[in-house]
């Protein structure tokens, strides 16, 4: 029964990846490469595949992106590299994510150790949070010769990668392998430690040259009308529970209504269908032309047979019966379901960290805080909130700290 939940779509073979790489026009000054927020350089790694240099391709991906195998699977490429692809002028963009997945799968099979620890400079960095931004920050700092300690409040590293994105889209063993790579590089992991509770920020600052706060937005938002309702569960809790149980949850409902229209709502809706929930309806505040979810995830959700109703906002709830109001028309919609899952966004818990958060982010651009020893990165820093942006922010905060502490540029 959980097979559908656990099974990732098959990747390319050597033959099919060559066919896809042969579609690539190998552009001069490749537009795709200019569009990757993390500078993963698809133009270069696809060219390496085309000329059968898979090891070189793996180096290009990995040296630019410590989350290369993860980005390959979850990046909304349609908004970045594939949006810029010249091939679109002929038919459709190159499947850059798919080729990157082939390359990183090869890297894993070949047991390549591409990342190299820099010569120690005697300085130490503490990172709060082990989501993609924290992990990328750690990688870049380790490559530059810093010692790195990562503090994670949960029992596993990875944040939303580990506890959120469903198994069929991002297998746990892929995430574990990416993290193991960074641990092998020298990152010291401290699990089940909450900074501000178990260890204070002052203690961290005293024992490190810099502290990077990368806590992300891990806590579910709940609308007041749903508080205390037994039928209601947050998307974050639901996805974490299903992933932990590898899909073997006992209370699979017969029907469910999902509220929200981002990628998380798509993950929840698709997961429900893959757990064989017959009736899944997703009610979305936005209309289709303003949807937040990536086209790829939306299409996947529709393919699973989820009913998507756009342009409605929840108005009231009575037990398991939710009434929505049309945003742009007169009318209401009432749905009764065994389960109500809220995917209306997450909020930041930065208690006792001394960081000012407004609407989920710091109220200033960049990574510096008022405290010269403390930096922010990841979703709480300004910018997009995707994995690839987390990688970018991780590299940028590492650059900044390096230049502040050592005075070098790169």
């Amino acid at each position: 029964m959980t097979k559908k939940y656990e099974t990732e779509a098959p990747g390319y073979t050597m033959t099919t990846v060559m066919e896809e790489a042969a579609r690539c026009l190998l552009c001069h000054d490749a537009p795709c490469s200019q569009m990757c927020p993390a500078h993963t350089d698809p133009g270069k790694f696809i060219r390496s595949v085309r000329f059968r240099n898979l090891k070189g391709a793996a180096e290009t991906v990995r040296e630019n992106n410590a989350m290369g195998a993860i980005c390959a699977r979850v990046c909304p490429t349609e908004k970045y590299c594939e949006l810029a692809c010249s091939r679109t002028g002929i038919d459709k963009p190159i499947d850059i994510g798919g080729i990157q997945r082939f390359v990183t799968d090869f890297e894993q099979q070949a047991e390549m150790d591409i990342l190299q620890k820099g010569e120690s400079n005697g300085k130490s960095i503490a990172i709060v949070g082990s989501g993609p931004a924290g992990l990328q920050t750690a990688t870049t700092m380790l490559e530059r010769g810093y010692s790195v300690d990562i503090y994670e409040k949960s029992e596993k590293a990875g944040g939303y990668l580990t506890y959120g994105i469903p198994e069929y889209r991002l297998p746990a063993d892929i995430v574990e392998y990416e993290i193991k790579r960074i641990i092998n590089l020298g990152a010291k992991m401290h699990y089940n430690v909450t900074i501000g509770k178990d260890i204070t920020m002052d203690e961290l600052k005293a024992s490190n040259d810099a502290v990077v706060v990368a806590v992300g937005a891990s806590e579910a938002k709940v609308l007041p009308m749903f508080e205390g309702n037994d039928y209601v569960e947050s998307a974050v809790d639901f996805l974490a529970r299903v992933k932990e149980a590898k899909g073997n949850i006992k209370d699979v409902p017969a029907s469910a209504v999902v509220i929200g229209g981002g990628d998380v709502a798509m993950d929840v809706s698709t997961t429900l269908k893959r757990l064989d929930v017959e009736h899944v309806t997703d009610v979305v505040y936005e209309q289709f032309d303003e949807f937040r979810a990536s086209k790829k995830e939306l299409a996947g959700t529709q393919r699973e047979g989820v009913t998507i109703v756009d342009g409605y906002v929840p108005e009231s709830v009575d037990g398991n019966e939710v009434t929505f109001k049309a945003r742009n028309m007169d009318g209401k919609l009432t749905i009764k379901a065994d389960k109500i899952i809220l995917a209306i966004g997450q909020q930041v818990n930065a208690d006792n960290l001394g960081i000012n958060i407004e609407h989920g982010v710091v109220p200033y651009t960049g990574y510096k805080t008022d405290d010269p020893k403390v930096f922010v990165t990841g979703d709480i820093a300004q910018g997009d909130q995707t994995v690839v942006w987390a990688v970018r922010k991780g590299k940028e905060v590492a650059d900044l700290i390096d230049s502040e502490l050592i005075g070098g540029t790169k």
Binding site: T15, T16, M18, E19, E20, A21, A22, L25, L26, C27, H28, D29, P31, R50, S86, R87, T88, G89, I90
Partner: protein, 423 residues
């Protein structure tokens, strides 16, 4: 569906269409040839029959392919030798084929080790009612140096063996030439002097296709070792066309009947061989990859081509492109033609810019903001590399100009081609 007469007469034998399976693994028994006939082939050159005392002992595995990007079978390497069935079985199959398919043409390919072998084999296949004989003087992977391409490169032996075959049979006969030779004309003339009426060419090109980089052994690996052997398929087509063209323009060989072989897989390939002088066409590699059914599109496509060209018989096309292939010193070198870039078609990939800079004359400028190329005529030599690399056919032939000091009207120069104007 279009209907045109594809029949040809070759060495006095009438073929319903020019498409034959070449002597190879694709026609080594009755069942294979029968199926090929049923699917529309005009004839078969039955897999080479050797002398009774020659034991065929094959290796495993025995093939390899050359690939490029995602394309398989760009070229094909083959280590198989001649027919592995017994002489009696082969002769029986020939006879049965003729009995059951009287309108199809059965060519017997034979190969001996000495004059007596050749004469006897010729006699035997004639008794088996074959329509024609092809002498295999060109297989590059025989285990005996008295057989195959080592013989075909020696004009004296070629002449002697052709004469032996003629003593054994009065059937029309063609000699199959090897391309593993600088000039094919002496061997072809020797075979005609020995009595051959036509030439079949090319056989496979001696090759090493790939090396296993871990084991440092060529492919295919036969218990840790490999050998040089014959290469065929699309990659050898240009070599085959060159040999055929040179044969047909050699003094005294202008009307030489040729059975063309080498990388034919589409009607276009077939038409090219015909235009350079082939009357019949032989195919193996593409059949090994795709099966006998490929003949359907080769026949139909060739009929449409005939219709487009306004001809009713293939004989009107044979060799008609040869007059347009001249020595390099006779080409018009007085003008150049600039490329013309269609910016509506251009998708801004910059491949023309890269190739012109790195492979030609730095004559394409690139605007990084608009991502559009332009031609700098002060540097352009008119080589048209840009046209070849453009993935969308946005670059065609444009303005033609005379070189400084040359006489003539540039506009009269003919340079447009289907390749240059259509994508």
């Amino acid at each position: 569906m279009i209907k045109k007469d594809l029949s040809v007469d070759f060495l006095g034998v009438h073929f319903e269409n020019p498409f034959l399976l070449s002597s190879s693994p694709v026609d080594n028994c009755y069942e294979m040839c029968a199926k090929a006939f049923d699917e529309g082939w005009g004839g078969v050159v039955f897999k080479t029959i050797g002398p009774k005392n020659f034991e065929v002992d094959e290796v495993s595995p025995r093939f390899d392919e050359l690939t490029k990007e995602g394309t398989p079978f760009v070229g094909f390497k083959n280590m198989e030798q001649i027919a592995e069935h017994s002489l009696e079985e082969n002769l029986h199959d020939l006879k049965q084929l003729k009995e059951n398919y009287p309108d199809k043409i059965v060519v017997a390919s034979i190969m001996g080790t000495n004059e007596q072998d050749w004469e006897e084999l010729a006699q035997l296949v004639t008794e088996a009612k074959a329509d024609m004989i092809e002498m295999n003087l060109s297989c590059p992977q025989m285990t005996s140096h008295e057989m195959g391409s080592d013989v075909g490169t020696n004009p004296e032996l070629v002449k002697k063996y052709c004469a032996a075959v003629k003593r054994g049979s009065d059937l029309p006969m063609m000699a199959k030439m090897t391309p593993n030779i600088t000039d094919m004309i002496p061997a072809a003339k020797a075979s005609l002097a020995g009595g051959a009426e036509g030439i079949a060419t090319i056989n496979t090109v001696k090759s090493i296709s790939n090396i296993d980089l871990e084991k440092r052994v060529a492919l295919p690996i036969v218990n840790g070792k490999s050998s040089i052997s014959g290469f065929s398929g699309k990659a050898v087509k240009p070599i085959a066309l060159r040999f055929i063209q040179q044969l047909r323009v050699a003094a005294g060989l202008e009307q030489l009947p040729i059975s063309g072989i080498g990388g034919i897989e589409t009607w276009q390939d077939a038409a090219e061989f015909i235009l350079l002088g082939a009357t019949t066409l032989q195919v193996t590699t593409s059949v090994m990859q795709y099966g006998y059914r490929i003949v359907e599109d080769m026949k139909n496509g060739l009929m449409h081509y005939m219709e487009d060209q306004g001809v009713d018989h293939l004989s009107e096309l044979i060799g008609s492109a040869n007059k347009n292939i001249v020595p390099a010193e006779d080409l018009d070198r007085d003008y150049k033609v600039y490329p013309k870039i269609d910016w509506d078609k251009c998708i801004g990939c910059g491949r023309c810019y890269v190739s012109c800079f790195d492979g030609a004359h730095q004559a394409i400028t690139w605007d990084p903001k608009t991502r559009r190329p332009s031609v700098d005529t002060s540097k352009c030599v008119g080589c048209h590399l840009c046209n070849l690399v453009c993935p969308v056919g946005a670059i065609t032939t444009g303005e033609k100009v005379m070189k400084p000091g040359r006489k003539g009207n540039a506009e009269d120069k003919q340079v447009e081609s289907v390749r240059l104007t259509h994508f």
